[in-house]
């Protein structure tokens, strides 16, 4: 590659190479380093030349995270800027159990009304259906609530071949504040996520490195959208959250929503955060979507 680059007939210009998966950062770094030292800067009016991080991050971003809908598990597909396709998987069982419980209780309510309306109904059949719906509903709802509260939350990023790349585990949880840890397949911690507060006016997720140093924050753009979402649900995706990635006092990137119902995430950076792997960011975003999904109905988040 380097020899190929030395044959570049246009020495004053950085030519963006075609992205070749898997992306090799060391090669790119070495190539650009030789470039910088060998070529003097043009005097006077010069075309804007991309810096190293712009090359690197434009290759790695945008990352698109797409939720796969109508699945039993919470699944999403991640497409990185280099063309790699990964997927995430997380359990949705407690949430589904709560939903089934509520639907079953609603059915029990309907059955009770039917019994009250028709005095000539068979008491045995009526009691059977009422008891079935009532007990399944209560059991399912409270089991789901219990496991949703006390079970460890976990999300995995894996390749299409099923090899684990990153995983998110909850390491500490309180009523309002929870800490999550992003680890690789060997269990080494790479990043920490903190969700704190009620997140009522704006959603805010904080990143910390493994030594506790403050990293970037994912902050929701509009408090108006957030409040409208509390009242009306996401309303066909109109009130879904869009985020700003904030680091060291400046805005370094954004997480936009795409698609007809705005259910896709598009992560873009225009300033370098050298410690952040895009796959880590994609995992964090998929996990945020898993933790705080927007809903059709009025809800707290």
């Amino acid at each position: 590659m380097i020899s190929e680059f030395s044959e570049n007939p246009y020495p004053g210009i950085l030519v963006r190479p075609l992205p070749k998966p898997p992306y090799d950062a060391a090669t790119s770094l070495a190539r650009t380093a030789t470039k910088r030292t060998s070529v003097p800067r043009l005097s006077g009016l010069s075309a804007p030349s991309p810096t190293l991080e712009e090359i690197v991050y434009s290759d790695r971003y945008p990352v698109v995270v797409k939720r796969r809908r109508f699945r039993f598990w919470h699944k999403s597909v991640v497409r990185t800027g280099t063309g790699n396709v990964l997927r995430t998987k997380a359990s949705r069982l407690p949430r589904l159990m709560r939903a089934w419980g509520l639907w079953s209780l609603a059915a029990a309510w309907v059955v009770a009304h039917g019994i009250a309306e028709s005095a000539g109904a068979d008491p045995l059949a009526s009691a059977f259906w009422l008891n079935s719906f009532l007990w399944f509903g209560l059991t399912s709802y409270f089991t789901g609530a219990f496991f949703g509260t006390f079970a460890k939350k976990r999300l995995e990023l894996e390749t299409t071949a099923g090899e684990l790349v990153y995983q998110v585990r909850r390491i500490a949880g309180g009523i309002l504040t929870s800490h999550f840890s992003l680890r690789d397949e060997l269990g080494n911690e790479h990043l920490r996520l903190q969700r704190s507060g009620t997140q009522f006016f704006k959603r805010r997720w904080k990143f910390y490195d493994r030594l506790g140093g403050a990293g970037p924050q994912i902050v929701e753009r509009s408090y108006l959208t957030a409040l409208c979402r509390k009242l009306f649900g996401h309303l066909w995706g109109n009130f879904r959250a869009r985020y700003t990635i904030w680091h060291n006092g400046i805005t370094v990137g954004s997480i936009e929503r795409e698609g007809f119902t705005n259910d896709r995430f598009r992560i873009e950076f225009w300033k370098e955060v050298p410690t952040l792997d895009p796959k880590l960011v994609a995992t964090a975003v998929a996990f945020i979507d898993h933790q705080d999904p927007e809903r059709w109905h009025p809800w707290f988040n």
Partner: protein, 289 residues
């Protein structure tokens, strides 16, 4: 993919197709539901017309709802009437129907309504005495008939003459008299007003619950909101598409017939990475060394 230029003609086509799709929805539904494949074959069609109400009750999905509504609208008078008719029907069948409701006139002219109930093979009575404005007040329960009548006789109403003191000293005389302003005296009859001879029927008018209407209203508003949200989302989504310049889309379109529209290459991405656009190449320098 060949990208067609969106001129006025194509835009008109798009708009019209959208409008036709919306406008012809009911028509399409009607046509598809009336299609020959969905109709019954001629031999299965009923030859005689059914009565409309029977058809409604038997076939309509609203039949159950309608029956429920009728049931809810049934008044107390209807219930009494049904009971009476039921008694008549039983009598006609030869059954012995005992009257368990008696109206008794006391010596003082009070009307006493006594309801008989069987408690361990022993008839016990519950009494109601009529007061002003054709109301009946609960008097006593679980007594013999004579006790009920005695209780009604011993009652003292506001405006009655004072009774003789009882033996025990505890009775109406020893009770604290009701203040004059709190006494429930019959209203003075105004001029021109006629008092009906028969008492008015004690029919409780059915008071409809406000909640069904409230829920309907809430559902309607929700549907309206969802519709508005859908239209909003549709327009925003169409605007975010690069081929439909409904709202701000600046870089994607080219004039029809221009070189840019005829090339097979996609246009530059509308993005934030301006540094990624290819730069003009400088002149080639001679490599001397």
């Amino acid at each position: 993919m060949l990208r067609l230029g969106m001129n006025a003609e194509n835009r008109k086509r798009v708009y019209l197709s959208c409008i036709f799709a919306v406008v012809s929805l009911p028509g399409g539904a009607h046509a598809s539901l009336n299609s020959p494949s969905l109709k019954l074959p001629a031999e299965l069609e009923p030859t005689t017309n059914w009565r409309k109400d029977i058809v409604l009750e038997a076939r309509s999905p609203y039949a159950l709802m309608r029956l429920t509504k009728l049931k809810n609208l049934k008044t107390t008078a209807d219930t009494f009437d049904l009971i009476g008719r039921d008694a008549n029907r039983l009598k006609n069948l030869g059954a012995k129907v005992e009257k368990r409701l008696r109206a008794i006139q006391t010596d003082k002219g009070r009307r006493l309504l006594v309801i008989e109930s069987i408690h361990r093979d022993k008839p016990l009575y519950t009494g109601y005495v009529n007061g002003p404005k054709n109301t009946y007040a609960f008097l006593a329960s679980g007594l013999h008939l004579a006790q009920v009548v005695t209780a009604a006789e011993s009652l003292r109403f506001p405006g009655d003459e004072p009774q003789l003191p009882t033996e025990t000293g505890i009775g109406p005389e020893s009770a604290m008299p009701m203040p004059e302003e709190m006494r429930d005296a019959p209203r003075a009859v105004s001029a021109g007003e006629t008092i009906p001879e028969k008492p008015q029927p004690m029919v409780q008018t059915y008071k409809q619950s406000p909640w069904p209407n409230r829920l309907k209203t809430l559902f309607g508003w929700t549907m309206l909101l969802l519709g508005i949200g859908f239209i909003w989302r549709l327009i925003s989504w169409a605007g975010s598409r690069k081929s439909l310049p409904l709202t701000g889309s600046t870089t994607s379109t080219a004039a029809p017939g221009s070189a840019a529209a005829l090339t097979q290459l996609p246009p530059f991405k509308r993005g934030k990475f301006t540094s990624l656009t290819p730069l003009p190449l400088p002149k080639k320098e001679k490599q001397t060394a």
